[in-house]
Amino acid sequence: MRYLPKSPEERRQMLAALGMGSAEELFSHLPADVRLDRPLDIPSGKSEYEIVQYFNGLAAQNANGYPSFLGAGVYRHFRPVVVDPLATRSEFLTAYTPYQAEISQGVLTTIFEFQTMVTQLTGMDVANASMYDGSTAVPEAGMMAARITRRDKLLVARTVHPEYREVLNTYGRHQTLPVETVAYDAESGQLDFDDLDAKLDHETAAVIVQSPNFFGVVDKTREAAELAHRYGALLVVIFTEAVSLGLLEPACEADIVAGEMQSFAHPPSYGGPFVGVLATRQKYVRQMPGRLVGETVDSEGNRAFCLTLATREQHIRRAKATSNICTNQALIALMATIYMSVFGKQGLRELAEQNLSKAHYLADEIGRNGGQRVFSGPFFNEFVVRTNGVGAAEVNRRALDEKIVGGLPLKKFYPELQDALLVCATEVNNRDEMDRYAAQFSG
């Protein structure tokens, strides 16, 4: 087998050194009744060629090369060519968590840069080395808020990504953190402040809102912060589209910012692996979950980095840890770090402006063809539209005939939004495909 670097003779020599005549003896101490007495029912090993063919065949059963207007937490952006050659360098790709700082300065330095850029983007004081993804960062932020406030109720806006809320519910149920949802304003698509005010109380640990929210609408985080803080609750702000941070005022008034950075250099990859972000104020750093990299010096006084504040973590604190998290998403965070350095201060803004312009163009074109935007709140690169009698499913069916994947029908997540589509346009959508999709809305 090509991944096993031993000749039969070497194997024999090694076994002989152990005083064994056959490999079976390595397992002779296992009780007979736990041994598997037959070969695994998995076909015998395949060549590279066959495996590539196999996956090419599967890929061909997916929508391959279709223009798409899906966003909803997973965004298609152009990936600069330098990302993969750098991120797949052996020394990054095949290193472990950097416990041995002396021979891990490469990954430690990039994580420190990642943490720094996340604080710059979010306006927070500190950021960790990454979370599994945006959806799991939400309950981690909720649990963190509960630890800080010593309260247990979580209020989550209905405009937070529905699947993120499902994950929050799963975690919350077993942490005895009751989760209540806060309505959205049917006109603006933003938080319903009357409902929030009614549900906030002195048991509330955190108010969790998303901006731009699941409908693509930029929400009123400042007002949410004011109201939450009035009750002594924390404000957690979620984002799913990191490109928006190039243009939007960061939620500096938040206590915790959690989100998803897939947009920065990772393809949709059918939903993962992505990279979650968690950032907060300095005073809460010891309640943070996840890995943190800090600056220090080596014994010769040179700048060096290492994992730090590990006393929060499971391998030290065990049952009293801030989280059970061990693995993070260092490689995807590295891709995001490379991506952020490619675009930089000016490029990220230009990119965000292009996204804004494309989405507004598409919204206008759909409007011209009879579709109606559902919410009046300002939007970044996605928006909700109702079809004018054609029907969401029919619009998308027609689009598929033209080999275009339309926006996300919302009725699955929001029964009240029958016939509505969440439509996203990014810099990779060209005018022609936008025109063609918009045309499907005409009766």
């Binding site: 031993k6 090694m14 495996i51 391959n64 020394e91």
Partner: protein, 500 residues
Amino acid sequence: MIRKVRSHQTQNEPLLFERSSPGKKGYQLPPLDVPGVAPAEALGVANVRREIEGFPEVSEVEIIRHFTRLSTWNYAIDLGLYPLGSCTMKYNPRLNEFVARIEGLAQAHPYQPEELAQGAMRVQVQLEQYLRETTGMDEVTLQPAAGAHGEQTGILLIRAYLEAQGDARRKVLIPDSAHGTNPATAAIAGYEVEEIKSNDQGMIDLEALERAVDDSVAALMVTNPNTVGIFEKDIAMVAEILHTRGAQLYMDGANMNALVGIARPGDFGVDVMHLNLHKTFSTPHGGGGPGAGPVAVKKHLAPHLPVPRIEESNGILRYCYDRELSIGRVRAYFGNFGVLVRALAYILAHGGDGLRNATIDAVLNANYIRMGIEDRYELPYKAPSMHECVFSDDRQARSGVRTGDIAKRLIDYGFHPYTVSFPLIVRGALMIEPTETESKQELDLFIDALRSIADEVESDPELVRSAPHTTRTKRVDETRAARRPVLHWKAPEEEKQAAD
């Protein structure tokens, strides 16, 4: 004599922020093909940021050099043996990277219509089937993002199952040799943790277990082979003790690399377990992730699995969300799909026989190392080793040299250290897991290195205590990092102001 390495130059490199200068660019966007929209008009003035303060501006050449230089400061499995016990640092085939980047897989959107996602769904179905076969379990969820996330899912499944029986119970038992994630997970899932002492062979003490299991106990979380690399030979009895008292057996699959093709947890009484695809199934660790932590269960737990599940009829796959007893989602979408693709490629490359041969070589390598250094290092538990062997620094400690020092000295010999000071039941542990993807030559060099260090401990302990000597970064002051945490870069003026 150090035979594996010679030192070579490494380039110095500042942080990106220190390379930055206004107006430098690493990007060029195509011209906009639609009318430009003024941000302040579309979003409202108050919603538009002035700039991203401190964000870097660098050119493409500098980016290439920056990350390439930084990369050379890392050790990696592609450079050599990486014997971290419990971590299973094996070769990560490049083929897996290649197939994960095939456009129809990499560009697939989780919300694209099911009829146009059949390939992505088939990947999951096929992988689930092979994981069921490998573990001997009945059903698998691929949703958990990592090992600890899989543990959490598994414990929630147990909780949901017991709740459905009318009694969630309140305690989870965990051996004192367990990974730290186990107690942390049980706590996250709302359970009290009770520790079970190991016996003098490093195994679960059946009598202690008998005493501990009562009707408040929901489950025992066991790692098998355990963290000293020993197969829990009484595992079937352990399962029986739990089952007769209504408790469940959870298995941490971190050490599954010792069992694939040899023994199956589903055949020795395990009710639920997780796998680490980034360990056993070779997906790259990438400096700390991504991983994937599929959970495999017996039938009785299956109704509680996270949604969605995939169902097949007439060759068409579809997602099924209608599961009343499900614990709900543990992650958005369908898990770390790209990692699943890589693991499936690995399984296909090996096949059933190949997977078994890999296990044999993994166990052979661990035992070969054990034999090679057994006369120089203290072996606290003498039971036969599986995929890893765990020594103690007892003999070296007499010269004032601890496991952490020996680890740092190994770096000078060109190796990544073993896992240091874990498991906690071994004083000053050296936990060594070579995996199957090491040649005899590499193992011999490693054995030579550890033997040579044992000599040095006797002849010149200070040489070992002050290691590493040949790295570009010398021993790092971790205490200082924790005492005055500096967690992000500050511009020099900012730093000066803070100091004033």
